[in-house]
Symmetry: none
DNA sequence: CATGAATGAGGATTCATTCAT
DNA sequence: TATGAATGAATCCTCATTCAT
């Protein structure tokens, strides 16, 4: 039923990003999005199933591009460490370039509606896979610690970038997100690397009362 | 106006955790929470300003306890690495103990309503400070890398645990969150440690077309 | 059931006048009145059937006093014109003395709830009767125009004083209501008097198109 | 935002008059008005800001018409006395024609909500001005007593008509309001006229105890 | 007599979605 | 295709009243 292409399709998605960033998810009425996109309210329903579909499509559209951009960025990259560096750099670059989008991705779309989460999970998983691929590649190449569970390592890498990005979006001070690239790289690279040494997980010492 | 103590106050908060975990924040009608708590709808408004206040109070109440528990756990801990280990362990233990609470903290409270975020920020900052304190202590003791920005390191530690916890809550498979403790410790410890070595952030090589 | 006497009974009525004058009828919650009266919410229900009963009792209490005061004032008055003069004077004096009460009587109690109107009608009728009595007395004495319907004349006298009082209460400028006494007397006295002459009601002249 | 014209706008206002007259303002639920108007509940909010706005608009709409009708009626009227006569006649005619409207104007709109009063004051003032204009005209022409304060005279004229109308609306007996026209004219005309004589306001005689 | 914590019915308003044009 | 007026379900909160103490 819903026509998922065309000029207006994209206009509606872009309008949704702006309106959600400006008003927050719960004040982003369909009517506002329609007005911003320059179409009638009803027109949105020619291109999308419903409001939720707009959100999921928005995420697919923007996050898909995001993943693709990062993937290309990593294409001609040599070492795993360089890949990690480029990953972080690309991640932050993309967010910094479009603060509205960053706000929507980092804050507004963290909604709890299970159906939205599900619609989103597929596309975010591709990004996860990309990160996990870097990890596995690093382990294969002998650069990253082979004892690591790649999926866990991915969560650490993504969780770290995500937390840094979220703090940046929420911050009132307008600092430069890209400045975080090297510092975060330094910590994560060390964490993932073969060579580092740290004390093993300490056995819990039973408390003596 | 709102009486913020008493048996019913706690009953309402506990009921809210259950109802929000089951239905999501936006499907958690006040009437449902009241019923679960065994009180009348209006009674909620004797103890809370409004629905939002229930959410914020819930967070304050539970997260405050959370922070306090972790703080105590770290009290008689020797080395920074042991503190890190205990921090992760305590963090995951608390979430694992109460899956409803975990769901609410990890998912439902990531609401975009600015007023909720603001009400929450104070109390989450205390937890942040606790983590940051561990980092600074580690740097002082010569265990952690003094080149790190403690605040950034905190974001990495928190972001990593948070991502792992969120994945766990969202996962349909019922795996044991505590099993992640040692693996995540191993990566983070290495990342924070003095001793690790990893290639420096690679200069970007201009692409030759 | 309801005990209609005692110190607290009066305290509640006086508190109601103050609270209603301050907040308007619809923001005059029972709890506020109770607090102002220095009693518990529930205590009000020992003295009054319900909130409506408080209002009706308030009106009975205050308006009864009002009527009684005016009646006494007219007791030793000689001529009908003097009675009219004293009536207006007493009416305005009473309102001017207690602005809260004036506000409640002129504005807040003009509620539309039929049951309140009914509860009030009995007591207001006594005041009406008093005015009507003055009119009839004036006609009997040959001072007032015998062609007048006394009931209609009463409506004119009361309606005029009432409108003047209402405007005074609603006015932001704090002028003196008693200053209106003589001017309004002059018009009403002439209107009621035997001697006045004015053109008869003009026949409607059919419009010629 | 609210579209203040159209067929449905008028239908809602007319429905509001009927429902408010039947149930009183505070029992006139929006849902009832919508049903009577044959529209959906939400439709009301396309034409009015909120329920209060319905009331105020109703008053503006009906009272505006009222004033306009009376103004036209007075247009080709000769003497001040004839104007007074026509004023009273038009006033009562309009109310008698539409008893629901009369009930709403005389009873239900005497609400105490300050915001409603304010919304109404502008339009009632126009009617006041019209009456005052008649008074001033009569004084200029030498027909009315020049010693009168025109504003006070207006209050007496309006207050008298208003009281008579209110009693008529509240009365259970279905008498004819227009029958009051000539009697009230006779009293008011005499009261306003140049020629009448009445004893001056009596000096207060100090009571001898 | 007095208290005040608890009750729960009741209603204005929003906004995603539809459908006649 | 596109419109936008109309729909109506869904819910938070208030506050008069009760009753166990």
């Amino acid at each position: 039923m819903a026509k998922r292409t065309g000029e207006k399709y994209q206009a509606i998605i872009d309008a949704a990003v702006i309106i959600i960033a400006e008003n927050g998810y719960h004040n982003a009425q369909v009517a506002k999005i329609a007005k911003e996109a320059g179409v009638a309210d009803g027109t949105i329903y020619l291109y999308f199933e419903n409001k939720e579909d707009v959100l999921i499509s928005l995420f697919r559209n923007k996050m898909g591009l995001f993943t693709e951009t990062v993937r290309k960025e990593l294409k001609n990259t040599g070492s795993p460490f360089e890949m990690l560096a480029r990953l972080i750099q690309a991640h932050f670059t993309r967010l910094q370039q479009d603060r509205s989008l960053a706000s929507v991705l980092q804050i507004e779309l963290r909604q709890s509606e299970p159906s939205i989460r599900q619609g989103i999970s597929q596309i975010i998983r591709e990004y996860y896979n990309l990160i996990e691929h870097v990890i596995r590649f690093g382990i294969e190449k002998g650069s990253f610690n082979p004892d690591m569970n790649p999926r866990l390592a991915r969560k650490i890498v993504f969780g770290s970038m995500d937390e840094v990005a979220t703090c940046w979006v929420l911050s009132t001070r307008q600092y430069n997100l890209l400045d975080m690239t090297i510092p975060i790289y330094n910590i994560l690279a060390r964490g993932l690397s073969m060579t580092g040494i740290a004390p093993p997980f300490p056995r819990e010492i039973p408390k003596t009362h």
